[in-house]
Symmetry: C2
Amino acid sequence: MTSAPTSPLANPWPDSPVLQAAYRARAAAVDLAPLPRAAKDDALRAIADALEVRTQEIVEANARDVERARAAGTSESIIDRLTLTPERVRAIASDVRQVVALPDPVGEVVRGSTLPNGLDLRQVRVPLGVVGIIYEARPNVTVDAAALCLKAGNAVLLRGSSSAYESNSALVRVVRDAVGGAGLPADAVQLVPGESRDSVRELMRARGLVDVLIPRGGASLIRTVVTESTVPVIETGTGNCHVYVDEHADLDMAVEILVNSKAQRPSVCNAAETLLVHQAIADRFLPRALAALAEAGVTVHGDERVLALAAGTPATVEPATPEDWETEYLSYDIAAAVVDSLDAAVAHIRLWTSGHTEAIVTGSQAAARRFTQLVDSTTVAVNASTRFTDGGQFGFGAEIGISTQKLHARGPMGLPELTSTKYIVTGDGHTR
Amino acid sequence: MTSAPTSPLANPWPDSPVLQAAYRARAAAVDLAPLPRAAKDDALRAIADALEVRTQEIVEANARDVERARAAGTSESIIDRLTLTPERVRAIASDVRQVVALPDPVGEVVRGSTLPNGLDLRQVRVPLGVVGIIYEARPNVTVDAAALCLKAGNAVLLRGSSSAYESNSALVRVVRDAVGGAGLPADAVQLVPGESRDSVRELMRARGLVDVLIPRGGASLIRTVVTESTVPVIETGTGNCHVYVDEHADLDMAVEILVNSKAQRPSVCNAAETLLVHQAIADRFLPRALAALAEAGVTVHGDERVLALAAGTPATVEPATPEDWETEYLSYDIAAAVVDSLDAAVAHIRLWTSGHTEAIVTGSQAAARRFTQLVDSTTVAVNASTRFTDGGQFGFGAEIGISTQKLHARGPMGLPELTSTKYIVTGDGHTR
């Protein structure tokens, strides 16, 4: 004989630091879910203020990470990504204030109607619950992700790179103090304890405590999480993006879009990695394109027809191997091939793409229409750089990542993508 | 040195019948994706017609399954679910014609805007691709699922119960002939080869070929798929639904909603499994409620306070064990407890619910508001039966299942839930 239990949540979870952290996050998520926007915005403002007030503490913790990285012989580019200066901390605080300005997705009525029997039906946005972020990137992700999750009413478990552990610890300490000071549960933001891969593995098995895992980082990390996690995952980021220059392209425009897509910032996922050129304009376009790429410092990995047309240009051109078609260089390299038709370009893309972003340059409405219909990637750009696939560029105000999967969210993920929905059905005693 | 490949899809998949079926489905999905509504509706009409013309063939195949089931000593209720009569085949055809009448979700512009730099941004619905349905239910699911997937531009892999193998084979043969006859790829609809559990296991590992798996059936099947699949899964169906009778409830209404929620059709996932009663009205409500449940043939599994109030009623009441709070009976049984407050009811629900549907009966606007805010299930019903959580009841025209997860889709899933989206960005040579 049992009375109804009244504890808010059962805690049958193993006594591991990771699972207990997740359990506390779950309890915090219950408190966050019904909060109105004003309460969440107050906490976000408190975070921004605290980051500015406690900049010194953050920068000092970061200096210890940087020192350790330098001693380990880490490359200067990675050290630059790791480093927090007072200016960078101010920029992080400013990003948090931008999240304050974004509308709260929670409570939005996605659809609603009165059913024929008089029942009122509303589908309303609600928080996802507990979001786990596994990332290798800069320490600013720690605060960005926390701010976005909080705004959408979610608790967040942050599992950053161990190389940034001191920085992340300091940032999370500051954020938690601010969140608690604003009257919200501090456990809404937690660093996942432990620096080893075991903590990632435990997170992946916390089905029932964690609602979604979002891995951000290298392809191998993402592959591991996607295949091993029993917690639902949103796959992000790998971008083998293509630029297809159609026979009806404006060639000046095509050169500009190509160089911008490849070289404006080669290290990011929306940078182009393969150029496809329609055979009808290859002899006019490629010499100019190769010269422009050479000027931008880009090495070309070309197929036979590209190599033939490269003669006499200042381009650095190497023969392409099959690996080149599937490589996300993230560097000043691009694969290049001549294709017989638009459909051949589509076939090449379908075969090799990671499904992130593909661009067509064309003056033909029919070609643009066919390309956008047949290419199935998160984003298809017509006469625009691949570099626009970005939450900020799309006007979402911020992004938690770029989903390259088809379920739940696809493309840049803003605040609405950090929510679920529920239906509310209201009647006057309706029965079936 | 390599030329760009032009085959539409690489086929590096192991030579297993399941994976090769999935590969053919993927190729078919590529052809389906750009089809306009008219082409898909023609195929659906052809399916409905063919089902009627070839009813005899279907009923005969079904008779062999039924004979086999009877020889195996299968219960009459399961044999009834398995049996196809000419009337039932006509009803299946009629369901397909209802799908014809539904709007095509593909191509819907979910959002669109012109960005400050003049880029046009559109988010457009596209098919998911290849959908795998694993089910134990009636053979009508075979045709329903195929029709819904086709309408949303998806290829479908059907893995039904081995007890319905002959029926499903006949149905899929008829559907494929009709699809092919209408000029669409017949491989858009396939029965997964093999009757053993191995074929399910292969399907769960076909990441990259299959875009989503939707298990429909018993809790253990769903648990297996959810924890073992590397293909993304949409969890469906388990319903431990609650009816909470608030202190401000109209007691007549509460009795009607309770009995309807529990007994109108106890075998389905939106039937109520637990009754929670506010202590302030327990002594007035419970004797009446228990009498009404007794009249409907329902056995009550009550806590101490329920047992005390059951004395002198015609009710069959047994003491509840902790298992009762989490059991989805799917029978004429209900767990029942008295709670001290609305918040205690919410705490009980949060602890035990499967997150499907919870109802509150109350005359208080404040209580309704608090309950709908705090309860986080796919559907929260106010003064209405739990039985309304259903795609047909919600006006979606049809449903492929009821998702009890938070990602991608939550609650009854109609055609839009069988789609993803992509962004189309259109410029005039825009670069960053």
